[in-house]
Symmetry: C2
Subunit: 427 residues, 2 copies
């Protein structure tokens, strides 16, 4: 297709009229779709309903070691759940603490604890004049919300197809002691679906931060959320790499089954060095009586082992793949060659990231809303909700059906075209 | 029986020899009992096993309002779980947020949040030179551990049979702005089993604290844990009383089902004014994706309503009562009239508190351990683990069987006698 940038004013004006008519038609259809969050679809949830039969009143609710999961005891997770979560993260069980239903809560607690008590003996961050975090962008709004809540200054670091711009990361953490952390979604990143290259992981592991209490927050949320059986991204084990590089304590890794079993009723985990885990356990002893062991047992008995999880995730992929492909196909068909937007075709994860022309994202999302599609807020993929280019849009294809997704994508591209034409006419 | 205090040296020496012989005999029996924590017994847990059948793969996992409990959404608890927890606490559902499996975690988070962000707009406690909490003693070690962790200075306030010494509480909170809170277990208190009188609750509600961000931490852990059907303690609704007294925001109330369904796999809740709850929700939005709604639904469907819970707790009482009565009977039989210890006979809760002669608690607990009974550490019922009188011992009768409990109580009284005789001989 002809690039809109090569069109003259008249051509654009005519196109605008056509697009406006199409938009009014689309609006008339009364579409109502929420694509704002990475919510599992009903069919994904239905697929795992038999987890509800895993345990019943005849079950022996004992761990393999004989601990009664119905009673108090076991602070950091039952051993078999540690093993399962370790296998998902590709680390070893003794590097794992199993928590409650939300890995977000572990990340929040980790930041909160660092604020009040520091990191392995460092000065509590709340006592420092300035604490900063690096934030690869576009990224995950809920990460940014945590650091914003605690008054931590966030610095944007651009993403590349291999992960964050490591030249920038290295330079910043080496020279600035107030930089205490970085938020990463290293596999099938939110929202771009990028997996950090081996070189990126190794450069992370070899960082020489000015701050001894600098930590990589490695949110491996989509570790096993592949779309293709024969084309899966692999990610180096950051904990192992940090160990090798002489930085064993520099990273916390997080994961959960929120998008494996039931969102909100799964189990979550943090993996880290023994020193980090011991420190976390010290606080957990005071914070909680331990997490829900019966739900941990339910997950282990249902999935049995990592093979069970992987087989299950293949069926997830069968549900997710058509939706992703529908979006990508529509983007290609409707926008290919127009030079008004770009995107990557992810091989896993939960999102597709769309880069509109600068200054267009807010207007596109507003247009979509007008026609009945709720998207993630413009700016959400940036710290403070401020996309400096007003260009990034996160598409979350998981919840709608493939048909709905296809319709929504067509409408989305229509909005993209309409807003872009207006922008070009004004420039 | 003759008071040991009226015995002469010879008489005591002879008694000592007899007691030492009995102790060696008892040791020979190789008893092995852990009475250190308020753990539900296996029969209590067995009794609730059919909760595991409440939900299965055929269940509609929807709230009454139609929300799919399997997916993300609903931050502060499903409405029917709010209702259930509200009825347990005798408050209204809109005063309730339902959380995860541990009310301890809500208390921890409440203190942590106050440290970093203050209370409804007050200065974050971490930025103050000094923060203090009042701690009615003897009290609950896990409460004290939270405030100790955050460097909050703890001030002992003696308990009376009507609750904390309110003259002291009133005087301290009125004159000292650095006092920001008080830990209370107002019903069947841990460890004494005391229920705060109406007058005590009203005096709490009418407090005029110097600190605007002073809060009562009202841990109503044993709200429905009666031992007797026809002799139940009642507790005034502190939230309602605070409202009436013009102090609507001065209290947080906590409760859980840890000792109703399964310890560690229950649901918990906090109740407070709308202003307090809105503030908590603001943080929850960032901290978590919400708590396990399926487990909330499981509890509601199993117990149905407060009547179901109360019927269930009656069966609990039938298990607990004989153990409490066994202990009390042994204490009376073995120690009555000796003037070497005192206790109350609780009508609910999980503990019996024993006051030994000053300076004897540590030695008694050490002796018990020598003979195979693990008790809660001496000092645990006081802030910093320091019982200034070394006299308080917490007995936790819930976990052992009644037979074991009876044996353990006899051995315990033997140790009390032995240590007391030694003490008297040295004085």
């Amino acid at each position: 297709m002809k690039s809109l940038k090569d069109m003259g004013k008249d051509e654009l004006t005519q196109l605008k009229a056509e697009l406006e008519k199409s938009f009014e038609d689309a609006k008339g259809k009364g579409l109502k779709l929420d694509m704002s969050r990475g919510k599992p679809s009903v069919s994904q949830l239905d697929m795992v309903m038999d987890i509800m039969d895993t345990l019943n009143s005849s079950s022996k609710l004992l761990t393999e070691g004989g601990v009664d999961c119905r009673n108090y005891g076991v602070l950091d997770g039952i051993p078999e759940a540690k093993k399962l979560m370790a296998d998902i993260m590709e680390v070893s069980p003794d590097q794992v603490i199993v928590n409650g239903n939300a890995s977000l809560n572990i990340m929040y607690d980790t930041v909160a604890r660092s604020m009040t008590h520091g990191v392995l003996g460092s000065t509590p961050w709340a006592k420092l004049d300035k604490v900063k975090f690096l934030c690869p962008v576009p990224g995950y709004d809920r990460h940014f919300a945590i650091t914003e809540l605690f008054g931590i200054e966030m610095i944007n670091v651009p993403m590349t197809v291999n992960g964050p711009d490591m030249d920038m990361v290295e330079e910043l953490v080496t020279k600035d002691e107030s930089i205490k952390g970085i938020w990463c979604v290293p596999k099938y990143s939110n929202p771009q679906g990028i997996t950090y290259s081996d070189e990126t992981v190794k450069r992370f592991a070899r960082l020489k931060p000015a701050a001894k209490d600098f930590r990589i927050f490695w949110d491996n949320a989509y570790a096993i959320h592949h779309l293709y059986d024969n084309d899966q991204a692999t990610l180096l084990d950051i904990i192992g790499e940090c160990e090798k590089a002489g930085n064993p304590d520099m990273v916390y890794e997080f994961a959960s089954t929120s998008k494996v079993s039931f969102a909100g009723s799964g189990i979550s985990a943090v993996a880290a060095s023994k020193a980090n885990l011991d420190y976390i356990r010290k606080f957990m002893t005071i914070q909680t009586i331990g997490h829900d062991k019966i739900n941990q047992l339910r997950h282990v008995r249902y999935f049995k082992d990592i093979n069970g999880v992987m087989a299950h995730m293949k069926r997830h992929a069968d549900i997710m793949r058509p939706k992703f492909e529908a979006v990508i196909k529509v983007l290609e068909n409707e926008l290919g060659g127009l030079e008004i937007g770009s995107w990557l075709a992810p091989k896993g994860g939960y999102f597709i990231s769309f880069e509109a022309m600068n200054g267009c994202a807010k207007d596109i999302i507003a247009k979509c809303k007008e026609a009945g599609i709720v998207m993630t807020n413009a700016g959400a993929t940036y710290p403070y909700g401020k996309d400096p280019f007003d260009s990034n849009i996160r598409i979350a294809p998981s919840f709608p059906t493939p048909d709905e997704m296809q319709q929504a994508a067509v409408l989305f591209t229509l909005c993209v075209k309409l807003v872009s034409v207006n922008k070009l006419l004004k420039s």
